[in-house]
């Protein structure tokens, strides 16, 4: 049976995920998204994986959420509060969400994973480090290249071009 910490974390995570999408202001929405990502980090702690939880806090709550906040601040003020929504589209979206949740939930409850329990100790984070440097080393190098390529691409995309004399500024 679920304990109190699990219930509190699921309320925080799911509630702030809904708030992130439904809040009127995009700034409050991104703060709610931060709460949701922090809740996921709490789930990682419950699952005895503190290393992934710290990574999640550093990458998501620390950098991505701040990046999103700054982008929101660059956008015009009335666009932050503008909400364009089709009533019919919203209805279809909610129906899609409910169908998805009910069908996937039924499949999961009917499958054999209810019987899976474990008494074994959690995986030590030293094992993760070993994995990274032995079996997964090509993937680690590839990931570094992808990250540097993505950051360079983002900088090139966001660079402003001076229209008149074709010179790049910034």
């Amino acid at each position: 049976m679920a304990d109190a910490a699990f219930l509190a974390l699921s309320v925080i995570t799911i509630g702030s995920a809904i708030a992130a999408l439904e809040m009127r202001s995009l700034i409050y929405g991104s703060i709610a998204l931060m709460g949701s990502l922090g809740g996921i980090a709490g789930f990682f702690l419950l699952l005895d994986s503190p290393f992934v939880a710290m990574f999640q806090l550093a990458v998501y709550v620390g950098s991505i959420a701040v990046l999103i906040l700054f982008t929101v601040m660059l956008v015009k003020r009335e666009l932050i509060f503008k909400k364009v929504e089709d009533k019919r589209r919203k209805f279809v979206g909610i129906a899609l969400m409910l169908i998805m949740m009910v069908s996937l939930g039924a499949v999961i409850l009917d499958s054999g994973i209810r019987q899976i329990t474990t008494d074994e100790p959690a995986v030590d984070f030293r094992e993760i480090g070993e994995d990274f440097l032995t079996y997964y080393w090509p993937a680690l190098i590839l990931m570094g290249l992808i990250l540097s390529g993505a950051v360079t691409g983002a900088l090139v995309l966001a660079r402003r071009v001076d229209e008149e004399n074709g010179k790049h500024i910034n």
């Binding site: 799911i14 699952l47 100790p121």
Partner: protein, 101 residues
Amino acid sequence: MENTLTEFVLVSVALLGIGIYGLAVKRNFIRMLFAIEIIINAANLNMVAFGRFIPDSAGQTLALFSIAIAAAEVAVGLSLIIVAYRMYHNIDIADFRSLKG
């Protein structure tokens, strides 16, 4: 472990449903990015939960890779938002007509 695997997977399904709702209904570029983030996090939660209950270190390793790739995706997505905003002065995806294939 007091919590069972089913509970974690059900939370992940709920987050996936919310993310799909956001992608289907919202027309704001930044909100769609929020929805994508929520879906990615649901996937990460699933990986770590299965990795804990099997138990195997591959779940956590893959979740770490996934978090790093998601960071790259958000950086590119946000710079696309800035470029599109500079071109159209709006972040409503219905206005990005010339991007239509």
